[in-house]
Symmetry: C2
Subunit: 316 residues, 2 copies
């Protein structure tokens, strides 16, 4: 009936956090596992491929983040329920990130900060939120929470998802057939999609070219904006750089990258219109994640349904 | 029955905006005034001292901004009603500014952007909004709107004003006697006070020293933060710089300065923990201000009460 912490760069924090959340349980941290047959429950991030298959009594895997692509990279992933970490702490952090980056670009802060470095005092015309259309790709818990916050600040909201949805306060588009219209009416694109074979590289040249293409973008927003807080694998970085440099994109806030940590050779580091953060948009407190892990175990043991269970067929 | 536009660096925009808002009225722009006796209504920003006293048929002055200290600097200001510009457009812009700058510092963006310049990929622990106490000095229309937006994002709100108020969703403090307790419980200080003899230089060493002094600041916020979008005359800039450099202040967002435009010699331009904007926090669209000017004229002419009339005794 032991618990395993595996594959995180904050392994020790989760180990201590989980012991604090459940002092009577036996918690172990990989690779210091002891008898693998003792392990029933795993809190996992990027576990070594094949390792999880060695735990024959494993009944539950909880992912440290909202995304689970790191688990599906393992061809020998055992066939047990997988739970994504989605809770108010992670959701609130993501909402803060999306709100901050949206406001930052609508208020033209990359330019204001350049003016500050140049000691230039100059007014820049800025649109009102009601004049700006934010399009959110991925309308799950995180997308809907971000939409509510932006809507309260006065933005117009569009949403796009794989299958059709109806969500209060936003115009919803769905599927391949809905994508062109969604993109054409989007000035600020917020990407919160899961990373799956169907979404790999979706933020590419062809997608970026269609942003704001209906001609209704407010003239005080110099161009469309990209905010990606989903996964780096969703984006084609060469295409983003080309769009920034050709003027097809005004600015970008990127929290995720094709390779992480972002290599020193990437042009994003020094790009004047890129705001780069180290995949921390929704970095949650280890205490919250540890408590969530224990809550799922307790639900399983008491016969209650698990929360945020992943459908292996769609990958989220 | 003519209208005068006077003393703005956007004189032409206001002239055109006012003509568009009231095509049948006679609008003149200083100094091209013609017969001064024709002028009944003035839309004014920094008018030359003594000039407004020359208009003997003047019945109304509308200030281009929410503050009117620029008018009271004139010892010969005529004794006619003065209306401040406060409308949903200005209020929404100020709310955006305060929300943006608060989120920016809670997410430790000055440090993240320095890391970006240094090509450093490193996680920084950040507090949740619910762990951060924002204190708003000045709880009028602008302060209350900013408080509502920050409260919706999860922050804890305190408010301070000259006289006691009761405002939903924030803990209110008042007067000299309430200031120490307010400051001690404030991690992020937002200054939206009017500039009057009583508030001149209020953001000084003594005030900054008291921020977060009750010891309840969350450890993930490195220090207190100052956001001033009121007036430059409220702040003692040497004291702010000293507090930033000594660690008493973690960071500052300043939209207003003792001297504007900010002189090139100011240390704020290149300070790594200062976000500086050119007094544009609530720069409103000239169309909105022109429409507001016409609305006040119409209210006066039809015997309705004016909006946002200034009390000359308190200066706001």
């Amino acid at each position: 009936m032991s618990l395993l912490i595996i594959g995180s760069d904050r392994l020790n924090d989760f180990f201590e956090g989980t012991k604090a959340a459940a002092p009577t349980r036996d918690v172990r941290a990989y690779p210091d596992v002891g008898n693998r047959d003792d392990i029933r429950y795993a809190l996992a991030w990027k576990a070594p491929a094949g390792e999880l298959a060695n735990y024959k009594n494993l009944e539950l895997i909880v992912s440290v983040g909202a995304g689970v692509d790191h688990l599906f990279n393992d061809p020998d992933l055992p066939n047990v329920p997988i739970v994504r970490y989605v809770d108010p702490d992670l959701t609130a952090r993501m909402t803060q990130y999306v709100t901050l980056q949206t406001l930052y670009h609508v208020r033209r802060m990359t330019e204001h900060q350049q003016q500050q470095r140049d000691k230039v005092w100059a007014y820049l015309p800025e649109p009102m939120p009601a004049e700006v259309r934010v399009g959110i790709m991925g309308t799950g818990v995180l997308g809907q929470a971000a939409a509510r916050a932006l809507s309260a600040l006065g933005y117009k909201l569009n949403g796009w998802s794989r299958s059709a949805k109806s969500i209060n306060g936003m115009t919803c588009f769905a599927g391949d057939e809905g994508l062109p219209e969604f993109l054409a009416a989007t000035d600020i694109l917020v990407v919160l999609l899961p990373f799956t074979p169907a979404t790999k590289g979706i933020v590419n040249r062809e997608l970026l070219r269609q942003l704001s293409s209906d001609g209704n973008r407010h003239h005080r927003l110099p161009g469309p904006v990209l905010i990606n807080a989903g996964r780096g694998g969703l984006q084609v970085e060469a295409d983003i750089l080309a769009a920034l440099d050709a003027g097809g994109l005004y600015a970008a806030s990127l929290d995720v990258f094709e390779t992480e940590p972002l290599p020193a050779s990437s042009a994003f580091w020094s790009h004047p219109r890129v705001v780069l953060t180290p995949h921390n948009a929704a970095e949650s407190a280890t205490e919250s994640i540890s408590r969530y892990f224990i809550r799922q175990i307790e639900r399983l043991e008491s016969g209650q349904p698990l929360e945020n269970v992943v459908d292996p067929k769609v990958g989220y």
